[in-house]
């Protein structure tokens, strides 16, 4: 069994991370009734005997759970969020060696996070990551959680990505990036996002872009549903925005949205943690979904959003789950995969679903989707037998689709609007090591990325002929 380490950077990263750990505990405790430390738990948690002076007994799988510690590194340049988490019920999951904080914040400035804090804390970050890695028996993946708009998450977060690539080249780097809404209150967020984008394009194995506004819309939809009472009551703990059943009692303002991201990560790793009839390990994600190294942005969607309390589920609901995964309302960014061109698509199914259900739904949905000419059968599937808490089945769809392009174009536009007037530029250029070139290079990296998607999009309506086959002399 392999292990993964979560690296949460900045305010957003830590808030999402906090929800992730809560829901991960909830998931494992609902399956693991006996309190035995098993392989599934070991992928995100260590088992530590605190009385024996923090002695690690992770290697002793099958023993009773002593005290669980998260395989995590927490980084923030303010203390607020991290401190709050340590004081809360999740505090026991972490020890002081696992976090790196400062007091003054990055002031929404990518350069401060990346260059200033980057050079100050580099050694400490490397040390912290190495420590976490040493506690793993077979480290497979780093999950970086951060936001693109601020200073710490985007600046220092992408520096961490650099460090990971240098220090652990063999370990996969999957990044969950929260993109700012168009009406973001941080005025420099386009700068920060575009500067960060370049790093993501160069150094991540794959990126799951998530848009704040899309999360808000999904959260509102569920709330509306549960208040309308039309269809019958929703089982509260099954809604993907709900943290019910976790250890955190109070709900904080962003919790609903952050729970969605936490559920995304749980579903993404479910097949690597639990058994199933068609396993899909984490290293299969990039192998199947990334045909060209730079085009590694995957649009994700989670369905169902909730389960109704009424247990007489008509069988149509299962097919509905598959249909919903391709509708634009369920995507975690504002994008419509049906209008884009698929390079590849993965369906990660959990719960009571068989291969025949998968095949039927792929056949049914295929006509409404367009795939790139050389990957007409570009489907990857995984079947994990353990469903999320309270559900009978669930689906995570990952799409490498050109429909991410509009998000990037919009970002570029907002960047150019500021950049043409050189607005706020001096805040960045004042920082040591920050040159004007960082901006030009970042924007040209983004432009060429958009162009690559353009070229693929252009093939969409064309009828591509098969490549002429090799001839064999008879």
């Amino acid at each position: 069994m392999t292990q993964s380490i979560v690296v949460q950077v900045g305010q957003c990263g830590n808030q999402v991370g906090c929800r992730f750990w809560d829901l991960a505990l909830r998931e494992h405790s609902s399956i693991n009734k006996k309190g035995i430390y098993d392989d599934a738990l070991s992928s995100f948690f260590r088992n530590v005997d605190t009385r024996a002076g923090d002695e690690d007994c992770s290697g002793l799988s099958g023993k009773k759970i002593q005290s669980l510690k998260a395989r995590a590194v927490l980084i923030d340049m303010e203390e607020g969020v991290v401190n709050e988490m340590l004081k809360g019920p999740l505090g026991e999951l972490f020890d002081s060696k696992q976090f790196i904080t400062d007091v003054s914040g990055s002031g929404n400035n990518w350069a401060v996070g990346h260059k200033v804090y980057g050079s100050t804390y580099r050694e400490q970050i490397v040390e912290c990551l190495r420590k976490a890695a040493e506690q793993c028996d077979c480290l497979q993946c780093f999950f970086l959680i951060h936001s693109m708009g601020g200073g710490t998450g985007s600046g220092l977060g992408t520096l961490v990505l650099n460090i990971l690539k240098d220090e652990f080249p063999e370990v996969y780097r999957i990044v969950t990036s929260v993109y700012p809404s168009a009406e973001d209150d941080v005025i420099t967020s386009p700068y920060n996002s575009v500067l960060a984008m370049r790093e993501l394009t160069e150094y991540a194995d794959c990126v799951l872009p998530i848009e704040n506004q899309a999360l808000v819309d999904i959260a509102n939809k569920i709330k509306l549903m549960s208040h309308s009472g039309k269809v019958g009551a929703i089982k509260q703990e099954t809604a993907i925005i709900s943290g019910q059943g976790g250890v955190s009692v109070q709900e904080k303002p962003f919790d609903a949205m952050n729970n969605i991201v936490a559920n995304l990560l749980l579903s993404l790793t479910s097949s690597a943690r639990f058994e199933g009839s068609l396993n899909m390990d984490l290293n299969e994600i990039t192998m199947n979904l990334v045909p060209f190294p730079r085009l590694h942005y995957l649009v994700s969607s989670l369905t169902p959003l909730y389960t109704l309390a009424d247990v007489n589920i008509p069988s149509r609901r299962l097919d509905q789950m598959f249909s919903d995964a391709f509708s634009k309302d369920h995507q975690l960014i504002h994008a419509n995969p049906k209008h884009g061109l698929y390079l590849a698509c993965a369906l990660m199914v959990r719960g009571n679903v068989q291969v025949s259900d998968l095949r039927r739904n792929i056949e049914r949905l295929k006509p409404s989707l367009s795939f790139v000419s050389w990957n007409q059968e570009g489907w990857k599937t995984g079947l994990c037998s353990i469903p999320p808490v309270g559900h009978s089945h669930s689906l995570l769809a990952l799409a490498n689709n050109t429909c991410v392009k509009p998000t990037f174009m919009e970002l570029k536009e907002r960047f150019m609007k500021l950049y043409k007037k050189k607005a706020h530029l001096h805040h960045y250029l004042d920082v040591d090591g920050m040159e004007q070139e960082c901006f030009t290079e970042a924007v040209s990296s983004l432009s060429s990325l958009i162009q690559e998607y353009d070229q693929l999009d252009a093939t969409k309506r064309l009828i591509m002929e098969d490549a002429p086959r090799l001839n064999i002399a008879v």
């Binding site: 009839s277 299969e284 291969v355 792929i362 064999i472």
Partner: protein, 454 residues
Amino acid sequence: MSIVTVQLGQCGNQIGQELFDVISKDCHNAQGQSNKTETEAYRACSQERFFSEDHGKDTPSARAVLVDMEPKVISQAIATAAKSGIWKYGEQSFFCQKQGSGNNWANGFCVHGPRHERDIMNLVRRQVEKCDRLSGFFTMMSLAGGTGSGLGTYMTQCLRDTYPHSFILNQVTWPYGTGEVIVQNYNSVLTLSHLYQSSDAILVHENDTVHKICAQLMNIKQISFKDVNKVIAHQLGSVLQPVCTSDGTAEYKRNPLGDLMETMVCHPEFKLLGLRNIPQMSDTALAYSAFTWPGLLKHLRQMLIAHAKMEEGIDWQVRPPLPGLPAVEKFTGNKESRFNTSLSNLLILRGKDVQSADQGAFADPALYTSWRPPGSSITTWRTPIAFNRYEKLATLVSNSQLLLKPLDSIVGRAWNMFASRAYVHQYIKYGISEGDFLDSFTALEQVISSYSNL
């Protein structure tokens, strides 16, 4: 003689477990049919072939080595076997690592293969040493994934190098046309082209076909991988369980793999074997059905010549070309040319009144390519012992154009993808070059061309 089985990857391990299950249950069921000596001979032969017994006090252990790069599937297979109470896997006869090959053939072949060769070959050697006489190796793997296909190919080469005089039969599971692994066509092309050099014969099961069998013949509503694997195991069992030669002596064949190769693979350019069996149905339907040998063989023959993959939707219009005329309608992909030309066929008949069954319909020279000497292309093996609760069962192993179309489609899709160089960087990372890809494509185009020109 004994066969050492090597199960590789998730698919190979799941099917392997089902295969040993069906074999040991079949041996149990064999009791009470026919006369006692006959049954005893059958059971003893099967036991020697697939199981080793430590001093006769224990449940027999399968002569198998389980290999995967990831522990979940193997531990499940071992536990399921132990639960059956009638057979088990050897205690130390498995090898697993912590991290899978990630669907990457190159990772399995170039990295995991060389790294773990010694450990795995040691396990194989220990199984070989337990055999009084070794017939050869039977490996099970999928074409789609990374461990089964990549590591499986590497281990087949190792077996060939270490045991140059033993036979190697590779069972490969052909992926669904869509929706399993995106890089499955690359992995399949790399696997098949390499296996063609080190394997004696490649026995193919297509997931799409077996899935259809489950849906249409077995009437299973919600089909799981377990159902698919059970059908594959049933078909494999019907080939590998003991059977007598046709010349009337009630002696069970001693060298199952050698005899299979001798009858089926007459030329190294033609190694792809397909399987058809009849009847195939759910247990409940089986209880209410009765069959005659002429009826079964008539259907089976038409399935063979009309490219039908199961006993449903057979095209009865297809006829062998008239003798004397050259078979003009070669494989071109159009609908007219649906006649399937064979190189050699093996008919395995099991069950009641088996001596009365007549293979005559399969002996027609028009069924075979012109350069085969008449009479040498069809072989029949029989046993009066019924297999797996089927009162009568006919299995056809065929070296023919049956697999031409699926092969052509896999190579075509992979070639299309290769033309845009998609995913190639993932293979290069582990040490496969574009040149290696080209070599594999060339090798398979050669195979396609050979089969087309039968």
